[in-house]
Each structure stands twice: as C-alpha cells, then as structure tokens.
Subunit: 434 residues, 2 copies
C-alpha cells in the first residue's frame, strides 16, 4: 500500500487532535482511502508539555522548517496560526513542491492570493477545509456536491462563541457582559473576545465561502461587519415576543452581478431552520439553483471537530499525491477585477426591526411614521412597550417597529431625520430581519 | 481545455434534468472544474416526446448500447432505472473501460457487488451520489468529509413521499388514505406507492449509507422494515399531545461489532433536529467519533435536486478521467463475511410508545404493568385517553404507555402475554421512540 508522509506544524489543541486522529484511526483511514497516511513528525516550540496525546517522542521536533522540508514529508499541515512563521513555512513547503493543508483563516485572508498562485505554479494542493464550519463539510459541498448549482444565497451561523452567547441571552434573558464572562470562564470565548464577538471571524468565513461559490476574492475590509458586542437584552426579549430569535448571521447573496456580503445580528423567525441552531453549533443554509435549500449543521469548532476536517483534507491531498495529480488551486480574481461587484451596504434590502424611545406626546407616532413613509419605508407591525419608571419620568416610551423590505440607506436616512426632529431621545437602534 | 464526453441513458425526468443542467451550466461547470464536460448524446426508446428541455435533435438516439459504447463517450450516465437494460448497459460500459454514474438504488442493491467488482477490475469509477438524499451531498460527506470518523450512528428521514404524508397527518389530523390520495394527485406519490410507503425505498438508502460508513454490504432482505401504510391518525395525535412527531426513520448504528439497521415509524421529540424536517425534505443526522452530530438537510427528490447530484458525480468522474486516475470502487464484503454482524431485530433497544385498548375493569392497568415489569419493561409515562361511545359500549378504554429503554423482543413478548390474558381487546400497537 502506497504511503504518504505528513508533517504537522503546531502542536496546539488542533495539532494534537490531528496527530491523535491520524495515529488512532490509521487503520480506518487506510481502509477507506486505500493508502497509508504516515505521520512523520510534529513541530512546536514547546515539545515538553503534555498535550494529552500519545505521540511517540521521536516524532516531536522544535524545527518547523526542517520538518516541512523533509524529503519524506509529502503533505505539510500548518496549525500554528498567525501570519508570521505560518506564512514562511507554507511558502517554503509550496516552493519545495509539497501540498499544504491549513485552517488559518487570517493567513488566507491576507496572503491567500499569493499562496494559491504559488500552489498553482508548483502544481500542488492548498486545502483549507477546516477554516469554515469545523467538522461540517461545507467547503466540500460547495466545491463538489453543488458544482452544477448557481449559488443564489448562503446564510450562515459561523461563530460558535457568538451563537453560544446569543442562545443563552435568549434562553435566560441575561445581559451580554454577564454571559460573555461566563463563556470566557467555560472556555467558549477567548480572553480577548473581539475576533469572535465583533464579527470578524464570521466575516473571514463568509469571505471564504463567497470565494468558493462565486470564484472571487472579497477583501475583508470591504465586508459590512456588525458584531454582537453589547447587544441589549431588551432587543432579545422584544424579538422573542415578536416570534424571532437574534442570530449573528453571515449573508452572501447574488443579485445579478452584485454580491451582497455582510455580517449582522439578525432577527430570524422562530420557525426558520436556522432559528433552531443553538449553543456552539454552526450551520450554513445554501440556496442552489438546482437543489434549492440545503443545510449543513454541526459543531463549528473544538479540537475533535476541527481535527476531523483537517484529516479529511489531508486524506484528499494524500490521494492526489499518491497518484501524482494534485488539483492545483485556481487563483481567484479580486472582486473588482471579476464580473461581480459588491453591493453597497446602503443598497442592501431587508426587513428591519427598529427600537425607538419616542417622546411621549400626542402625534409623535404619526410623525415618525410619516417620515419613514417619506423615505419609502412601510411599517409592517408596531408595538408600544411598557415604559420603565425612569423612562416615563424622562417623558419617553419604547416603541418597536417591524418594517416591510426597505433599503438600508433609506432606513438610516429616515432614522437620522427622526432623530434630528427631536421625536426620539437618541438615534433609534435597528437590526435586519431574515 | 480537456474535454470529457458524457452519454446519458434515459431521457425521463431526471435524465432531462441532467441534460438540461449540463447544457445550461456548461460554462459554470468548466470554470469550477477546469475541464469541459461535453454531452455526446441522450438515449431513450421515445425520443419524440417533448421533455421541456432544449436538447439538440442530433444528440438524441434510441440506441442506448451504441451510445454507451461510442469511443468519444468517457462517462456513461444510467438513468433508466430497473434491473434489465440498465444492468446490461452498465455492465457493457464498465467492460469497455468507461466510468459509470447511476442513481439506480434497486440495481445497486441487487447487482452492486458484481458491478463494483467489475469497475475495480477495469480501473474505472462507479458513482451513485444521487441514490440517497437527492441534492444533499451525504454520500460525499461520508466518503470524504468524515473520513477520519468512526460513524457511531446515522438517523435519516430518507423518503420525501412518506415525510410529506406524515407532515400533513400531523398538521391536519387527517387520515392516511386521504393524504396519500392527495399526494398521488399532486405527484408526490406514485400510483403504486408501495416502494415508498412500505419503507423499501428508505431501506435501500440506509443500506447504501451503511455500506459507506461501515464498509459492508447489508442485504436488503436482512433489514427490519416497517412502513407507514395505514398509520392510525390517533397515534399521530397522541404522539403530538405527548410532545412527539412521527417520522419514518432509518437507523444505522454500531454497537461494537453489531450493526443495527432498521426502518420504522418512530416518535421523535419535537425539539429534536429531525422533528423540524417537514414536507418532502430529507435529512440525515450523522454521529461521528470526532465531529459529533452533523446534519445534512435538503430536498431528497425532484428533477432538479437529483440532477444536481448526478452532475456532481459526473464532474468528479470526469476529473478522474481527465487526469487518468479513476478511483476504482472498493468491493465490499457481505456483512456476514465482515467483522460486523447484524443486530437481531429483537435485540434492538429503544424506548417504546404502546397504545392498548384495555378492558375497562378494576385492576387491569395494574395487571398489564405487572406483566411488562416481569419482562423487564419499565413504564416511563402512561395516560388514559377518553374512550369513544363505541369503545365504551364494548367495555374498553384507550391507554397509551411510554416505556423506558427496552429490548424489542421483550416488548413483543410482554404484549403477546397481555393479549393472551385477555387484558386488551387485541394485540397492542407499538412504535419506537428516538
């Protein structure tokens, strides 16, 4: 049986999971893919620490570059993260004609174009199946399973930390800070949670999915990103009363040659498939021109789930290596150089949830309804909520409005005008509705 | 750009969808897979009828065998169904060294072993991605995405006709015959619905999934199959009141070296992911050793969804053909010749729903509870329902029991004894609970 050599760079959580899986399931993997995937070594600066994995001592090394370049290593698996050493090792491996597997979203976002071009030049694979959705084979689905489909839209819950926080806020009515602190204590959120809760991790992922679905590179800084930091529990409660749950949703949708790519906390109807995706679970709903809606659901993170995705990539790449046919990654044009253009954020059309503190005077509701109407925004539902003591004392009452589909730009213009006219205490808060 | 020739055998619903997709999305497919997939011809006995697809006249032929054997056809797509001509054409194509794509479950169940062996001998592909789950890439997920996972269990809603009928019965409280007649009128059920409603289609599919997950062939006649024909709406209602929906569930689960493979109408808790899979949608929940639960959801049938899966297979096979590396299918041993054995139906353990018409005498409930207990069956919940006039007149009242997990064999033994002792009007009805 043909043997393919694998070197793992990075012995952290995922690296340990991959090493463990390759060693433990070696027999299963051989049986399923018809070749032996042999672990040649694992590199890390700290090889003294116990990682809870039975990796033979002689496989450990502190010299990442040497491992990556060993002649008997065919596939280099980069799991150190970041864009420094990781980039150097990947570049060197590709230059040396080795295929690479990585789960490094940040690196792909920043250096993806150059690395894919290099992989293509060298005729080797650069796989990144674990970068989105952990154990959910969504990248494979887009690449192969839905190959005959024009992708009309993708809606994803792609960040387990945010979904955990939002699920608990909805279930318990708790405040954001409180649940975040709990999530940090439980290891579901980082000490510095910004990448997750400010939506950037989700944005990275939807850019990767967009590249697979539409064949274009969407630069991260061109994506409209709104995270969940400081989400007011009152909005979670009002949404619930109206039949919605709030989810951090990544959207990628084609409108002719315009691509809508954005990340927003969004009200999802409770009977929608995505509404029941709770806790740290992820899901992606893909609307294909032939299949219609298909959904992929599972754990989006965690050692084992991510390691499963990395090993799946290793096996695919190893198959190509074994028969001498790596499928060179195609270099993707930046969106501006492609037939597509990004839809401007203000041109995105959605139904909206708006919460306003309205001056408790006669005719105020009529006035803001008129202003909304003048901006082309129709009201779908409105409800006035009981004011707290403090709110009443200040002379304002909370009102929630759900609109018919409207341009985001028109909503902002209308709300700005309402604020300037002194009808509300401060700029109203609004969220998209799915 | 390298060109790969495709011949479609069968110009029915799916065949027309595949031809249409290949012609309409030719540019998209080329861009995504880097080669041209060229439709060489479509064979059918009736090429006069309008199929609603703009296939150039000169591509149509009535000679299936000649098309399959044309030198410029690299991939033969069998979509006529049945086990006669279909088998002949596939065998001839494989013998001639051509790769084959089919969606023919019946053929795979009956002749799969021989055909896979032939494909392997000839070093060509035999793909069948559309045979389970239509547009849902579940076969790909098991083959590639979850390659490093021991599959602990699979639970699937795999038949759109049954799921449509069960969804409407639950929603409307309608009777089985009435909804079936409606489904037939709407084209969701065949004139002869047996293959669907008696569970055989579902059984075919779970056998295919079992072969992918466990590397063994499970003969169809060894699978415990219970369909939904004649399901009593009263059970749908009682289940609903208790917090469950009834779904036709295919189960494949490993217990050490015993495989549990069965198809049963099953009570699914309303908050379970599978409970929200409604209408003609299918879903498969896969519990992998590394990923934990992942779910795949989408339309399980229909022209476009099935055609999408067939084209996905065609593209994969075409890639292999283009680079000269078809991945020969592995011949699978029959389960009896493998390390696995089938779990005997009576050894399956589940919670059970039992509906009995109990004699309306003092102490009867106590007597059947005692008999259940003697067979090792514990009661989890019990409720007596209001008897109809007729039932009261006959002296029986309906009682529903939910048990703790119990052996199916013990349940049947207990219910038989209860019946023999004259405690109930007739043999109680029971269903599994997920």
């Amino acid at each position: 049986m043909r043997e393919v050599g694998v070197g793992i760079i990075g012995f952290g959580t995922v690296g340990a999971g991959v090493a463990d899986g390759l060693l433990r399931e070696a027999e299963l993997i051989s049986r399923r893919c018809g070749l032996r995937v042999a672990l040649r070594g694992v590199a890390d600066l700290d090889i003294g620490r116990d990682r809870g994995v039975a990796v033979p001592r002689e496989l450990l090394t502190t010299d990442a570059m040497a491992l990556a370049l060993r002649p008997d290593v065919d596939v280099v698996v980069e799991l150190i993260g970041g864009t420094g050493v990781a980039a150097d090792v990947i570049r060197a491996a590709l230059e040396a004609g080795k295929s690479v597997v990585t789960a490094n979203k940040k690196l792909l976002a920043e250096h993806g174009a150059a690395l894919f071009a290099l992989a293509r030049k060298k005729g080797v694979d650069l796989y990144f199946g674990a970068s989105v959705g952990g154990g959910i084979p969504i990248i494979r689905a887009l690449r192969d399973g839905l190959v005959a489909n024009d992708i009309r839209a993708m809606h994803g819950i792609l960040n387990g930390t945010c979904n955990y926080i939002l699920t608990r806020m909805a279930r318990e009515g708790s405040g954001f800070d409180e649940v975040l602190a709990d999530a940090q204590r439980l290891g579901y959120a980082e000490a510095n949670p910004s990448l997750d809760i400010d939506g950037f991790d989700t944005a990275h992922k939807i850019c990767i999915l967009a590249s697979l679905a539409y064949g274009v590179t969407v630069p991260l800084d061109r994506v409209t990103v709104q995270g969940i930091r400081g989400l007011n529990p009152v909005d979670v409660r009002y949404a619930g009363e109206l039949g919605y749950v709030i989810k951090l949703l990544a959207v990628c949708k084609a409108h002719g040659d315009r691509l809508e790519v954005r990340v927003n906390p969004t009200l999802v109807p409770k009977d929608h498939t995505l509404a029941s995706v709770n806790d740290v679970f992820n899901a992606v709903l893909v609307d294909g021109s032939m299949t219609g809606d298909t959904l992929y659901y599972g754990k989006g993170a965690g050692r084992e789930a991510t390691a499963s995705a990395v090993i799946s990539d290793i096996v695919s790449v190893a198959r190509h290596v074994a028969v001498g046919t790596p499928r060179a990654a195609e270099p993707l044009p930046r969106i501006d150089e492609s037939p597509y253009a990004l839809l401007a954020p203000e041109d995105c059309v959605s139904r909206f949830y708006i919460r306003l503190m309205v001056r408790d005077d006669c005719g105020m509701v009529g006035r803001f309804a008129t202003i909304l109407g003048a901006h082309g925004v129709s009201i779908f539902a409105a409800s006035q909520h009981e004011a707290s003591e403090a709110q009443r004392a200040e002379g304002y009452v909370p009102v929630v409005i759900l609109t018919q589909p409207a341009r985001a730009g028109d909503i902002v213009a209308a709300l700005t005008e309402i604020t300037e006219q002194g009808i509300v205490r401060s700029m109203p808060f609004h969220l998209c509705i799915l």
